[in-house]
C-alpha cells in the first residue's frame, strides 16, 4: 500500500524550507555589500529587513521541526515547489520596500520572473532604481537559473537527500555521479563564465566611453540575466539602452552558452570538444533556431519598409528570434516595432519561445531534447512499420554517450510537452478573457510559461491582477516542469481533506 501524507511530511518539509530561507537570507548580503559601495542607506535597510525576515521565519521553522532522519522523493518535490513560492515572497520584500512597485503582487511577479528566468517586468521607474536593488533583481536571475535548491544543496544537504531535491527542480541530468558534486560543478562553470562574460561586456562598454565602475556593474547585471536566460536589464530600455551592435553580439554568445546543457559544458571543460559537434541536442538547437528564423523571414515577405537595409533587418529580426529561442528575452526593438511585424513573423517568434533551449540548461520551454526525442521516436516507428515484423528496430541518440530510445522516455517527454502546450493555451485564454487579442495573449502566455520574457505589450503594472497571478503560476510551473507542483497540489488537497 502507498503510504499517505502524514504529519512527518509536514515536519520534514518545514525543516528543509527553514534551511532554504536561511540560505536566502545569506545571499542577500551581496546587495547589502553593493549598497555599501554605492552608499545607498535606504536600500541597505530594505535588505536588512528582508534578511531578518528570512532568518526569523527560517529559525522558527527549524525550531518547530527538528532534524529529520531522511528525505523521500515526495517530500523532495514538495520542498522544491513550496520553497520557490516562499522564495518569491521573501525576495519580493526588498523590491516592494524600494517603492518602485505599485503593490506587493507586482513585486512578487518581478521576483518570480527573476527566479524562473523569465524577464517580464512590472517595475516602475527602473532608471532611478538603486544599485543594490538592481543587482538583487539580477542576482535572483543567477540563483534561479541554476536553481534555488542548488544554492542550498551546496551548503545544507546530505548526498541521498540532495538527489531527491535536485530532480524536483527540473534537472534530470546528473553530470557527475553525485548531486552535490554536480551542483558544485554547475556553480564553478557559472562563476567562471560570470567573471569572463562580465569583463567582456564591461570592456565593450568601456570602449563606448562608459566609466569602469558603471561598465562593470552593467556587465555583471547583463551577464547574470543573459547567461541565466532571464532577460532583465538594469535600464528600462533593455539592450536598446546601449545602442551597440558589438554589445549585442557578445550577448548572443552568452545566450547560446546559457541555453546549452551543463552536460555539454562538462564535456567541453574536460577536453571533449567533439561533443559540441556530436551532441544531438546541440544540433537540434541550431537547426531549430534556423527553422524558427525561416518562419519569421517568411513573415516579412511582402512587408516593405520595416527596416531600410539588410544589416538592420538581420540585426533586429535575428536578435529577437535567438533571444526567444534561448529563452533570454532581451530585445533591441521597442514593443511598438514588434507589434508592427506580420502575424507570421510573430508566429515564428512564438515557435522559438515555445521550443526553448537544451534540457538541464538555464533555458525554459519544451526543450529541444524532447523535440529531438519525438523525431527519433517517429523515425523508429516508421522504420518498424517498414521492416519485417520479426525484426527489432532500435534508435539511438548521442547525448554524452549513445543512448537507446525507450518508450518510458518518450512517454515522460510527451506528458511534459502536453502540459506545456496546455499551459501556453491557458494563459492565452485568460488573456483573451480580459479583452486582449488572441495572438498577443498567446505570445505573452508562451513568453511567461516558457520563461522567455519578450513582451508584446500586455505585461504592465496596469494589467488585471488575475492575469498577473496567472502569469506567476505559468512562470513557476514552466520553470519546475510540473511534477513538483502536481505533488504539492496533491499534498494540500490531502491536508484539507484530513
Amino acid at each position: 500500500m502507498i503510504p499517505d501524507f502524514s504529519k512527518d511530511d509536514i515536519f520534514v518539509v518545514s525543516h528543509y524550507i527553514g534551511k532554504i530561507l536561511i540560505a536566502l537570507g545569506l545571499v542577500q548580503l551581496f546587495p547589502v555589500f553593493v549598497g555599501f559601495i554605492f552608499r545607498e542607506i535606504g536600500p541597505i535597510i530594505d535588505f536588512f529587513i528582508s534578511i531578518l525576515a528570512c532568518f526569523s521565519f527560517g529559525s522558527i521553522l527549524l525550531y518547530f521541526s527538528p532534524s529529520p532522519k531522511g528525505l523521500n522523493w515526495r517530500q523532495g518535490m514538495i520542498i522544491v515547489a513550496l520553497s520557490w513560492l516562499l522564495a518569491m515572497c521573501f525576495s519580493a520584500l526588498p523590491l516592494y520596500l524600494s517603492g518602485h512597485f505599485e503593490c506587493f503582487l507586482d513585486a512578487c511577479f518581478e521576483s518570480m520572473s527573476a527566479y524562473a528566468t523569465t524577464g517580464l517586468v512590472l517595475i516602475q521607474d527602473l532608471d532611478h532604481l538603486s544599485h543594490a536593488h538592481n543587482i538583487w533583481r539580477h542576482q535572483m536571475c543567477f540563483i534561479g537559473g541554476q536553481g534555488i535548491i542548488l544554492v542550498a544543496l551546496v551548503f545544507f544537504f546530505r548526498g541521498g537527500d540532495a538527489l531527491r531535491i535536485y530532480i524536483g527542480e527540473a534537472r534530470d541530468d546528473k553530470i557527475l555521479p553525485n548531486s552535490i558534486t554536480t551542483a558544485k560543478f554547475i556553480w564553478m562553470v557559472s562563476f567562471t563564465y560570470l567573471i569572463i562574460g562580465s569583463l567582456l561586456l564591461a570592456f565593450v562598454l568601456i570602449l563606448h566611453g562608459i566609466p569602469f565602475s558603471r561598465a562593470l556593474f552593467h556587465g555583471l547585471c547583463i551577464f547574470m540575466a543573459g547567461w541565466d536566460t532571464a532577460g532583465f536589464a538594469p535600464q528600462s530600455l533593455n539592450v536598446l539602452y546601449y545602442h551597440s551592435p558589438a554589445f549585442e553580439l557578445v550577448t548572443i554568445i552568452i545566450f547560446l552558452l546559457g541555453a546549452t546543457s551543463f552536460g555539454v559544458h562538462y564535456s567541453v571543460w574536460t577536453g571533449k570538444f567533439r561533443e559540441l559537434r556530436e551532441d544531438f541536442e546541440v544540433k537540434i538547437l541550431l537547426f531549430s533556431i534556423f527553422f524558427a528564423y525561416l518562419i519569421t523571414l517568411v513573415g516579412f515577405l511582402g512587408q516593405t519598409a520595416v527596416f531600410y537595409d539588410a544589416f538592420s533587418f538581420f540585426r533586429h529580426t535575428f536578435y529577437q528570434v535567438i533571444s526567444a529561442h534561448t529563452g533570454v528575452g532581451y530585445s533591441n526593438i521597442y514593443v511598438s516595432q514588434l507589434k508592427g511585424w506580420s502575424e507570421m513573423a510573430i508566429f515564428g517568434v512564438i515557435i522559438a519561445m515555445a521550443i526553448g533551449g537544451c534540457i538541464n540548461s538555464t533555458a525554459g520551454g519544451i526543450k529541444v531534447f524532447r523535440i529531438g526525442l519525438f523525431y527519433k521516436a517517429l523515425k523508429r516507428e516508421v522504420r518498424r512499420l517498414a521492416y519485417p515484423e520479426s525484426s527489432r528496430v532500435k534508435e539511438f541518440f548521442h547525448h554524452q554517450r549513445e543512448i537507446p530510445i525507450d518508450d518510458t522516455m518518450v512517454k515522460t517527454a510527451m506528458i511534459i510537452t502536453v502540459c506545456y502546450v496546455l499551459l501556453y493555451i491557458s494563459g492565452a485564454v485568460v488573456g483573451a478573457f480580459f479583452g486582449y487579442d488572441f495572438l498577443s495573449s498567446f505570445f505573452e502566455s508562451v513568453s511567461a510559461a516558457a520563461n522567455v520574457g519578450l513582451s508584446i505589450g500586455i505585461t504592465s503594472p496596469s494589467m488585471p491582477a488575475f492575469l498577473k497571478f496567472w502569469y506567476i503560476i505559468e512562470m513557476w510551473a514552466g520553470r519546475l516542469e510540473f511534477f513538483a507542483i502536481f505533488i504539492l497540489i496533491r499534498f494540500f488537497v490531502k491536508i484539507i481533506k484530513k
Binding site: 535606504g42 529587513i49 531578518l52 521607474d125 530600455l237 527596416f307 537595409d309 533587418f313 533586429h316 526593438i333
Partner: protein
C-alpha cells in the same frame, strides 16, 4: 486623400516644432514621425555612450526613453545624468527622428541639432521613512530572539545525556 494626409503631416510637423512631442508618441507612432523634425523634453538618464561621430544619451519622458545622438560640441552642456538619488538634467532637444536609423544599424533614435538645458540636474537627499527604521529594529529583536532560542535548542540537543 493624399492632399489631406500631406496637410495633416504638415500641421503635425508645425505643431511638433512649436510644442514638442512626447517620447511615447514617437515610439508608438514611428511611421508617422519618421524623418521629421521633432522637439522632445525629458530627463537625461544613465550614461553617455560614445559613437563614431558624436555621442548618445537616453532621454526619459513619462516612463519611456529614447536614444538621442549629439555632435561632440554639445557634450559639455550635459553635466548631470539621472540615476538613483540623482535627478538628471531636464533638457529640450530638437532633431530628426528616425524609425530605423541607417547610420546607427537600424536603431530608433533622434539626431539632435539643438540642445537646451531647461533645468540643471541635482543630487537628491535619500528619504528613509522613520516607520521603516522602527520596523527593521523590531524585526531585528525578533530575529535575534529566534536565533537565540535555536542556538539554545541545538546546544541542549548536543549535550551528553545522563
Amino acid at each position: 486623400m493624399k492632399i489631406l494626409r500631406l496637410i495633416l503631416f504638415g500641421l503635425l510637423a508645425l505643431w511638433g516644432i512649436s510644442s514638442g512631442q512626447t517620447v511615447s508618441a514617437l515610439v508608438n507612432n514611428p511611421v508617422l514621425f519618421d524623418g521629421k523634425i521633432v522637439v522632445v523634453k525629458g530627463e537625461v538618464i544613465g550614461d553617455i555612450i560614445n559613437g563614431r561621430n558624436g555621442f548618445c544619451v537616453n532621454i526619459l519622458d513619462s516612463g519611456k526613453a529614447i536614444g538621442v545622438w549629439f555632435s561632440e560640441s554639445e557634450r559639455e552642456k550635459i553635466e548631470v545624468l539621472g540615476r538613483y538619488k540623482v535627478k538628471g538634467d531636464f533638457v529640450q532637444i530638437r532633431g530628426v527622428f528616425y524609425k530605423n536609423c541607417i547610420q546607427h544599424a537600424g536603431d530608433m533614435d533622434i539626431h539632435a541639432d539643438f540642445l537646451e538645458i531647461l533645468e540643471r540636474g541635482r543630487e537628491k537627499e535619500e528619504e528613509i521613512p522613520f516607520e521603516k527604521i522602527i520596523f527593521a529594529f523590531s524585526l531585528g529583536v525578533v530575529s535575534l530572539a529566534a536565533i537565540g532560542i535555536l542556538h539554545l535548542l541545538y546546544r541542549r540537543e548536543s549535550l551528553p545525556r545522563d
